[in-house]
Structure formats: C-alpha cells, structure tokens
C-alpha cells in the first residue's frame, strides 16, 4: 500500500473507520434538517422568488426595463454572466486538474465544489438567455439554418464558440459529477431503512453493484474524464474572454485576456468554495474531513491565482501606455480616474492587495479571516467584470454619446435572484446528497487518516 510521509499532515482527523465515514456523511441525509438550514433556505427562496418575478417581468416587458442604453449595451447582465461562469471554474479544477496531479486533499472538497460549479454555470446560462430579449427564439443559437432557410449561425464568432463551450462544460461537468455520485448513492441506498428514501436512492444509484470490474471502469472513466475536463476548464473562460478580446473596443481588445480571465475565474471560484465550505463544515460537523489544512491549501491557490490576476492588471495598464494607442491609453486612464474610479479601485483593492495578506500563515489558517476574505474576493471579482464591461463602453468615440450606467430594480432583482436560486440548489444538495465522496475518502483513510498515520508501520517495504 502507498505510504505517506509522516510529516505530511493527515487529511482525515480523529479515529475513523470505513463505516464511520459513511455515518458522518449520512447524518445529514437521514437526520432531520436543523433550524439554521430552514432559515437559510427560507431566505434563499425569498431571494429566488423575487428574482424569478423580475425575470418574468423582464421577459414580458423587454430588456428596456434594465438600465442599458444605446452606449452601454452590456452591463450587469454580462457582468453577472462572466462572474457566475468564473465561479463555476473551481469545481472542475479541483476534481479534474487536482486528480491528474494526484492531490489527495481534493477529495474532501471536490463533491461540493463540483455541485457549486454546476449550479453556478446554470446561473451563468440564465444571463445570455434573458439578455436575448425574446427568449423563445433561443434555439437560434443552435446550428440550424436561419428561418430554416440556408443562412447558418456564424461559426467564426466567439459568441457562438461560447454557446458550444458553456454547453459542453456544463454537460461534461454534470456527467463527471454524477458518475462519482453513483457509488455513494448506492451506499445510502443500502444503509437507509425508510421506504421512500430507499426507493429514491435506489433510483439515483442506477443499480450500482461495486464489483471489481465496475471499479476498474470507474477509475478509468474518472481519469479520462479528468483528462478531458482539464483543457475544457481552460478553454471555457478563454472563449468567454474572446467575446471581448476579438472586438475593437479599447479596453477589450487585449491579447492578455484568455490567461487573465482563466486565473481570475479560478481565483473567484476558490473564494466561493471557501464561502460555502466554511459554513458547511461547521453546520454539518465535517471538521474532521474539511480540515484547517484544506482551507490553507485553498488559500494558497487563492494567493497564486490572485497574484497572476494582479500581474495581468498591471501588464494591461503598462501596455495601454506602451502601445502608443491613444484610445487604449485613455480607456485605462478613464478607468482609474474617471467617473467609475471607485469601481476600479474596489477591484484593485479586493483582488490585488487583499489576497497578499495570505502570505501570513496565521491569517491563512484562520477560519473567520478566510471567510471574510472569500467574500472580499467575490466582490472584487464582480467589480472586475463590471469595470471591464461598463467603463470600456460608457466613453464612446463620440463625446455626444458619453453616458453612465444606472441599474434599475430589475437589474438588481435579477442578480439577487440568481444568487437566491444558487443557494436554494446548493442547500438542497447539502441536505440530500452525499456531500463528501465516500468511496474516494475511504481509499485514502489508511494512507492519510490520522490514526493510521500515527501507527508504527507493519509493512515490510
């Protein structure tokens, strides 16, 4: 069996056996939901209901109810789209990239991070959908001949690439997540005694048997899907960035966008994972599985990606001057000193300065501080997209069309609504699904579990 260095900190704390891992994770599935869960889902449902109302009003009346105008044609809608897609990057990064790198610490967090990814990408997909105005014509994005004549969708356009990228990313992440869930649903199926849950989990478990050949295939498909999902993660946000980068708007027309967007996405995704997991580990008593060490590892990823984002901001700023293009230079001077200076500096503070405090071990191992920082980073990353989109558009080439963007209650309502729907979905997941990958955690119990690591080894090698 694989031996792990004794100085490496254990990933599963306490005296745990295989069945105890099952019991700890199943406690929330079989037990009654506590009061805090009901309060949280109640608030989220109210937010979701308000948002759905605003979305229906928007669809019924038209996107004129948003604060968009002739100059600023993209604002909160696309900001929210890119923000949600970005958040949806951490899950697959954790489950795919860290699987390829054989990082065992991913196992406590990958299930919930993938769930977060799927829900976040669903929320992202809402935005281009409702931004179409006539959502009942949404099938026009598919490669159907236009009006069923012979004009096709434009395959040279990044907007169409995005359709393919987001739908591939969503469906592949969903399948990857579900394949991992099947053996754990089988565990719950064989353990629960109530009639209805047993029926439901039997259906969800697809008749999983857990024989040797099935596990052989399971490991193979996990590895190959991870290999396929890894370039997919990088491609999705690169393509989102090309929606901007291939245009001729000063401030958007930047070749640095693909890597800058991808690292920003990972940065914001990990921040959202921290926000969710710090609450979840406390409420669901998972402190032995999602340890301080896991939180520290994620904070290290946040420093690395945050620093890449910082370097990208500064490079972009330098190049806008160095290129000698007046329009580019103006776009950046206007960002920092124009009417939206507060958004620019909020972005700079939240994304560039604040993650650097994680160099202090005391701060990156502090749960309260990490939670605070995860919120700061998410605010900062929302502002990043707002700054890129709105400040680049609001100063048009003609000063007569210069304007500002003012969100209406529908803009705000739709945004709050997607946050509400996201949390409703995540809370339902936390209540009814196995939030830790049982089968994977059991494979690392003997190599990374605390009581096994402290035992003197009896193996010859």
């Amino acid at each position: 069996m694989h031996q792990e260095a004794a100085i490496r900190e254990p990933l599963i704390l306490g005296e745990k056996s295989y069945s105890q891992i099952t019991d700890d994770v199943m406690a929330s599935v079989v037990g009654k939901a506590n009061r805090s869960w009901w309060i949280a889902i109640g608030i989220a449902a109210v937010m979701a209901a308000w948002g759905i109302g605003c979305i229906l009003y928007l669809i019924g009346t038209g996107i004129g109810t948003w604060g968009l105008n002739k100059t600023v044609g993209w604002a909160w809608d696309i900001t929210n789209f890119v923000w949600w897609v970005g958040i949806g990057h951490a899950g697959t990064l954790i489950s795919a990239v860290l699987l390829l790198f054989r990082q065992k610490w991913r196992m406590a967090i990958n299930r919930s991070a993938e769930a977060m990814t799927i829900f976040a990408v669903m929320m992202a997909a809402v935005w281009p959908g409702i931004h179409m105005g006539r959502i009942w014509l949404a099938y026009f994005v598919f490669p159907l001949p236009n009006q069923f004549g012979s004009l096709w969708v434009n395959f040279n356009s990044p907007l169409l690439w995005d359709v393919f990228a987001i739908s591939t990313y969503f469906s592949v992440s969903l399948v990857f997540w579900y394949i991992g869930l099947i053996p754990d649903f089988a565990t719950i199926r064989d353990k629960v005694t109530q009639v209805v849950p047993k029926k439901v989990y039997s259906l969800l478990a697809f008749g999983w048997t857990g024989n040797a050949k099935a596990w052989n295939r399971f490991e193979e498909i996990s590895l190959v899907l991870a290999g396929l999902a890894t370039p997919l993660v990088f491609s999705v946000h690169s393509i989102v960035s090309m929606d901007f980068a291939t245009s001729v708007i000063p401030g958007w027309h930047t070749t640095i966008f693909p890597p800058y967007f991808v690292s920003g996405a990972v940065f914001s995704g990990f921040a959202m994972v921290q926000t969710l997991l710090i609450i979840m580990r406390k409420v669901m008593h998972l402190e032995n599985y999602i340890t301080i060490k896991h939180i520290e590892y994620m904070n290290i990823v946040i420093i690395v990606t945050g620093s890449i984002v910082g370097v990208a901001y500064l490079t972009e700023l330098f190049i806008s001057w160095y290129s000698g293009v007046e329009y580019e230079a103006y776009a950046f001077i206007n960002r920092a000193t124009g009417p939206y200076w507060w958004a620019y500096w909020a972005m700079m503070t939240c994304n560039v300065v604040s993650p650097q405090v994680f160099w202090f071990k005391k701060l990156r191992t502090s749960i309260g501080f990490t939670f605070f920082m995860s919120i700061v980073v998410n605010i900062g990353m929302w502002f990043e997209r707002f700054v890129i989109i709105v400040t680049s558009l609001h100063r048009d080439y003609l000063p007569s069309s210069w304007t500002m963007f003012h969100p209406t209650f529908v803009d705000i309502g739709c945004f709050i609504g997607t946050i509400g729907i996201f949390f409703v979905l995540f809370l339902l997941f936390a209540r009814f699904f196995p939030v830790l990958p049982l089968n994977e955690l059991k494979t690392i119990l003997k190599s990374s579990g605390e009581q096994y690591k402290n035992q003197p080894t009896t193996e010859e090698h």
Partner: protein
C-alpha cells in the same frame, strides 16, 4: 463433489482480502468477483480482471466528434453559405481553420465524454431502474466480499471453506 453452489466470503478489511485472494489464487482457486465499497488497488491482476478498454472508446468518440465538427463547419461556412466577415472572406477551408479551432475542440470533448459515459453506463449496466446485484448491502459501506463458485475448479465446499478460514474471513456463506 460438484454442484452449482456459490460461496461468499466476507472480510472487514481490504488488505486482508487482497492478501487472502493472492493465497487462494496461488492454490488454484478461481475468484469470480469481488464486491467492495471502494476500488481495492491491486485486486484486478490477482483475480484476472483485464484493464478496461473504455479509454480507447473515448478516443474513437473524440475522433468522430472532431470529424463531425470540421465537416459541419466546412459545409455551413465554406460550401453552403460563405460569408464575408470583416473583409475576411470564407472562400477556403484552410484560411478559416484558426476560427474553427474552438468549436472543433469543444465538440471533440463533448462527444468523447458523453460517448464514454454512455458506454460506461451500458457496460456496467448502471442505468435508472436497474436492481443492484451486490450480495450483501454492507459491501457498499465497510465490508468486502469474494464470490467463489467451487464448481469452477472442482473443489469441494468443505475444502474451500477450510482454505477460506485461513485467510482471515469473518463470514462464509453458501447460497
């Protein structure tokens, strides 16, 4: 004594089962299958399970996806309705290849992943509504079970039971 009995031997530890399986196989005992709550690394060569060919399937599905994407874009953008986009006409396929890279990649991944997943579900026979075939419900929690048919190698149930007892099993059941 030959009959169609099935013997199940249960273990409470994956390493005990693996060590036991090695000893039993060395004595010419054929282990039909092993049921476990997680993959036991190293069990496949011992009980004679070949590496799955799912990855080869995924590669073929990926090639199909790539060909379909390229052929589709060639037909839509070059043959059927060439468009002049920003002064860059769509007259030749090779001039447009850079713009076709993203969708070719996405479609390759789409077909490879979903094709592989479908093959996986069908080969494992894990589909909605299928009944599980694990002999004990504990095998998805913390127990590890071997399935042995004594008639496969002509050993009596008594002899087999004796051999199994030496490997540290916690339960031997005949069904």
């Amino acid at each position: 004594m030959k009959d169609n009995k099935t013997i199940y031997a249960m273990y409470d530890d994956d390493m005990t089962l693996l060590a036991g399986a090695k000893e039993l196989v060395a004595k010419g005992i054929y282990i039909r299958d092993v049921f476990s709550p997680f993959p036991i690394h190293g069990i496949d060569p011992v009980i004679g399970i070949k590496q799955t060919r799912l990855a080869i399937c995924a590669f073929i599905y990926g090639l199909v996806g790539l060909s379909l994407a390229l052929a589709g874009m060639y037909y839509f953008m070059i043959v059927d309705w060439p468009m002049n986009i920003g002064g860059k006409p769509n007259d030749f396929f090779y001039q447009n290849i850079p713009a076709f890279v993203p969708i070719s990649f996405e479609f390759t991944v789409l077909l490879a992943a979903h094709g592989m997943a479908l093959t996986y579900f069908i080969r494992n026979w894990t589909l909605p509504g299928v009944t599980a075939r694990n002999p004990y419900p504990e095998t998805t929690n913390d127990r590890f079970v071997m399935e042995i048919h004594p008639s496969d190698f002509g050993m009596s149930v008594e002899d087999l039971t004796e051999e199994l007892q030496k490997t540290g099993t916690i339960l031997i059941e005949e069904r």
